[in-house]
Symmetry: C2
Subunit: 193 residues, 2 copies
DNA sequence: ATATTTTTGTAATGATCAATACAAAATAAT
DNA sequence: ATTATTTTGTATTGATCATTACAAAAATAT
């Protein structure tokens, strides 16, 4: 291929941008913030991301989606998926203070973009629903295999878990305290017994 | 008192501004948005709110706090406080589509301001904690009076309810559908029986 | 070697941002 | 009546915003 070789790795750039968007949100993140974080100049930036800030944000959001999908693969391969889900939630209570304050990029996006950008909001909602369906599937399987006593409709229990996810990602900013969070998460997971 | 009489009612102004902040958030709301919504010119605005946009936002947030405190009064006077709390949550499932997308101003503020403005974030967190304590108090009373079988520590159950509040205010944007929401809320309140 | 293509770095664009300056207007106090 | 005080409307400020223009740099293709 012809042309001057690129010195920026696309995936790395998106990763660095994701970090900024995650802490400051879309609106409050200036392009300067992004350029500083990535080391790019605006020339390279707009050459790579023709859609500007919004395209980059969408890519950062979808990189996050891939992380959730990796969890899906792990769930499918596990023979104790509910244990994985349990630990997924319990792992929140192993994060540090700053991570608690960051919450979840996808939840943050739903909250911020609901009135600002339908595209991005719907994309974030779709990711949450995908995640919810992972839960639902695992619950259905656990009920069928008899490892879960609770026979409540898996759809309802799946929504219970995504609501817990949504909620705990706000509550952890009220109580960025791993002892409190673990106690709370364990209590809320009891229902899955 | 001397001077030209004010034509703007302070409380009304804050109310109108609150509506804008509630839908667009702090950062994405421009001063022009505020001036348009209130009918004020920037002269009157900065004369009234010396602290600028941030002071107005804080006042809007605290006006919301007053609404929560009105609920506290109702709780204290009621002889079935748990029924009031139950209906408080169920009332979410009576809102219209746009209201679902708005979520809760206080939750929105915690999410948006965590990395942007410690003052405002802490103020919002304080409001959520106040609300949590209302729940805790009512639960403790219901347990003492024997109207609630579940004997779990009221502190944990209070945190369960504020996490439900935080979560459902995101989930309602995933499912702005009153049937789904009511079913979900009722299921999640079963634990309080 | 020269032409073509792509990426880069920098400077500049016009729009929008929050906030201020300031004089006219409208009242009360003297 | 004159002065003092406060609110108002408008014009303007300087900063920051996202984006574009454009030429130099660096590679490949001919």
């Amino acid at each position: 291929m012809r042309g001057r070789p690129a010195i920026f790795d696309n995936k790395e750039v998106i990763e660095k941008a994701q970090k900024v968007f995650w802490t400051k949100g879309f609106t409050a993140t200036s392009l300067e913030d992004v350029l500083t974080a990535t080391g790019m100049g605006s020339g390279s930036f707009y050459n790579t991301f023709k859609g500007g800030k919004k395209e980059l944000f969408r890519k950062a959001l979808n990189q996050r989606r891939e992380a959730f999908r990796a969890f899906e693969t792990a769930l499918n391969q596990s023979d104790a998926p509910m244990e994985l889900i349990r630990d997924f939630f319990r792992s929140i209570a192993r994060a540090d203070h700053d991570t608690h304050l960051q919450g979840c990029l996808v939840v943050n996006t739903v909250v911020e973009m609901a009135a600002l950008d339908k595209d991005l909001e719907e994309e974030a909602v779709a990711i949450l629903k995908e995640t919810e369906h992972l839960y639902t599937k695992a619950i259905r399987r656990a009920q069928r295999e008899g490892t879960m006593k609770n026979q409540t409709d898996p759809v309802i229990l799946g929504r219970y878990l995504i609501t817990l996810w949504n909620g705990i990602n706000v509550t952890r900013r009220m109580y960025p305290d791993n002892k409190i969070l673990l106690k709370q998460i364990d209590m809320q997971l009891e229902i899955l017994r």
